[in-house]
């Protein structure tokens, strides 16, 4: 019984992982994540002032 639970549990975990291959890492206070930076207006404005390569040409096509 215990083995069955472990196997079923492992299968469910595998399915869950394979269905969410790269879900966004979210942390509003962590600018090291994509979303943490792109939802942070102040961080983007600061970056735009100090760097004219990344943000200035971003967002063209999505």
């Amino acid at each position: 019984m215990k083995q069955k639970i472990i196997i079923i549990g492992s299968l469910i975990s595998l399915i869950a992982i394979s269905c969410h291959p790269g879900e966004a890492i979210t942390n509003k206070n962590d600018p090291s994540t994509c979303e943490g930076c792109h939802i942070n207006k102040e961080a983007l404005m600061k970056l735009a002032k100090t760097d004219d390569t990344g943000t200035s040409d971003g967002g063209g096509g999505g």
Partner: protein
């Protein structure tokens, strides 16, 4: 249109009870940023946007939009927006000959194909430039916080590209014009344009050859007002005297362009590139494609040496196509300078080239003398479009 600030272009604005991008577009959020865009996460800014980072993943839709959107990706590869078949036809005909079309484009010299791919094709277009961001032609920027919009935004997508003609006309931005009546009534592009934008359009040698394009009579049937004398005389097909395209009576002056369209001249206004309002009635050379013996024509920015910035000599068959081409201005009004009957005058007094108004009314037509004087190098190209030989005998000639 006004460009967004650099930071504004890439901001995903979280508002209200939203806590993350998942609350804006849960389906696409579940895929993860780096799955489509590459780069590294978590990372510093520089590392995150390393050499693997892709600004517009939909440049490679077979990799990034499939497998979820397989069918659309497959047909859209040959859609009118992706391939600009009409532009290919224009270039092929002016280079190779009148009997050619878009299917012959690949037989054009390498510099023409290369220039086309680098310049024209760069605007014609990716999935993301219609469904996520403003197009490259206006330097991008998220429209709706990177939410994938099934229906593109008229202002941020459609007229961002189709702005100098369609947008300007539709919004009534030319001095002295009114906005299009359909705009005034609150209609948008998709109320009329129900054609399949993603279809494989390789069958169509221009945008006017697309099936299911909107026509006026989709809504405005001839029986709508059976006693309308002007419609009885001038209905495009079956009018009693002169068969006119609807645009001849119901459009206002529209933007025309002069000179080159390559190497950014159209953006910078270089080499005498200019846009100007004009209204000219020309002879319809393709009744199978366009209704009416008479249509309105627009000057397009092509010259014999248009492609010299691409390293190409003069176009050898430049005269194969008119430079005053059929047009469908999006500035329709019931009453225009042609149909204005204020004071009891019949609309013929504003249009027919005879009697005391002949000198004024002749300015609405594409005469040989007008082309010869203003566009002397284009006389042969427009020989079939000019009106001289086809107007009534009783009218004055210019």
């Amino acid at each position: 249109m006004v460009q967004l600030e650099p930071w504004e272009k890439v901001l995903i604005k979280i508002s209200g009870r939203q806590v993350s991008y998942k609350d804006i577009d849960p389906v696409h959020a579940s895929i993860g940023c780096t799955t489509c865009h590459g780069g590294i996460e978590p990372a510093t800014f520089e590392m995150a946007h390393d050499s693997t980072f892709v600004r517009d993943p939909s440049k490679k839709p077979d990799q990034n939009c499939s497998p979820c959107h397989d069918e659309l990706v497959s047909t859209n590869a040959n859609s009118m927006h992706s391939k600009a078949w009409g532009e290919r036809t224009s270039i092929a005909q002016r280079q190779l000959g009148e009997d050619k079309d878009h299917n012959d484009f690949e037989s054009c010299p390498a510099e023409l194909k290369d220039g086309f791919e680098k310049e024209c094709a760069s605007c014609h277009t990716t999935c993301g430039q219609c469904h996520v961001s403003r197009p490259n032609s206006v330097d991008g920027g998220f429209i709706n916080n990177h939410k994938f919009n099934k229906r593109p935004s008229q202002e941020n997508n459609c007229t961002a590209c189709h702005g100098s003609r369609i947008g300007t006309d539709f919004n009534g931005e030319i001095e002295g014009n009114f906005e299009d009546i359909h705009n005034l009534r609150g209609m948008n592009c998709f109320d009329c344009h129900k054609e399949d934008f993603h279809e494989d359009a390789q069958y169509a040698k221009s945008r006017y050859h697309i099936t299911d394009l909107p026509t006026c009579i989709d809504c405005h049937d001839k029986t709508e007002n059976p006693k309308n004398a002007w419609h009885i005389f001038h209905w495009p097909e079956g009018g009693l005297t002169g068969e006119l395209s609807c645009f001849v009576c119901h459009s206002q002056p529209y933007n025309n362009c002069d000179n080159c369209h390559t190497k950014g001249e159209w953006k910078e206004g270089l080499n005498d590139y200019k846009e100007y309002p004009e209204f000219r009635i020309g002879f319809n050379t393709d009744r199978g494609l366009h209704d009416g013996k008479w249509v309105v024509v627009r000057h397009i920015p092509i010259s014999r040496d248009s492609y010299t910035p691409w390293g190409h000599d003069d176009l050898p068959n430049y005269d194969a196509r008119a430079t005053w081409e059929y047009s469908s201005p999006h500035n329709i009004n019931k009453f225009t300078a042609q149909t204005d009957t204020t004071g009891g005058a019949g609309c013929s007094e504003n249009c027919h080239v005879k009697g005391e108004n002949a000198d004024i009314n002749q300015t609405r037509f594409l005469w040989k003398s007008f082309v010869d004087s203003a566009y002397s190098d284009e006389a042969a190209a427009n020989a079939r479009v000019i009106v001289n030989d086809n107007l009534p005998e009783s009218w004055q000639k210019y």
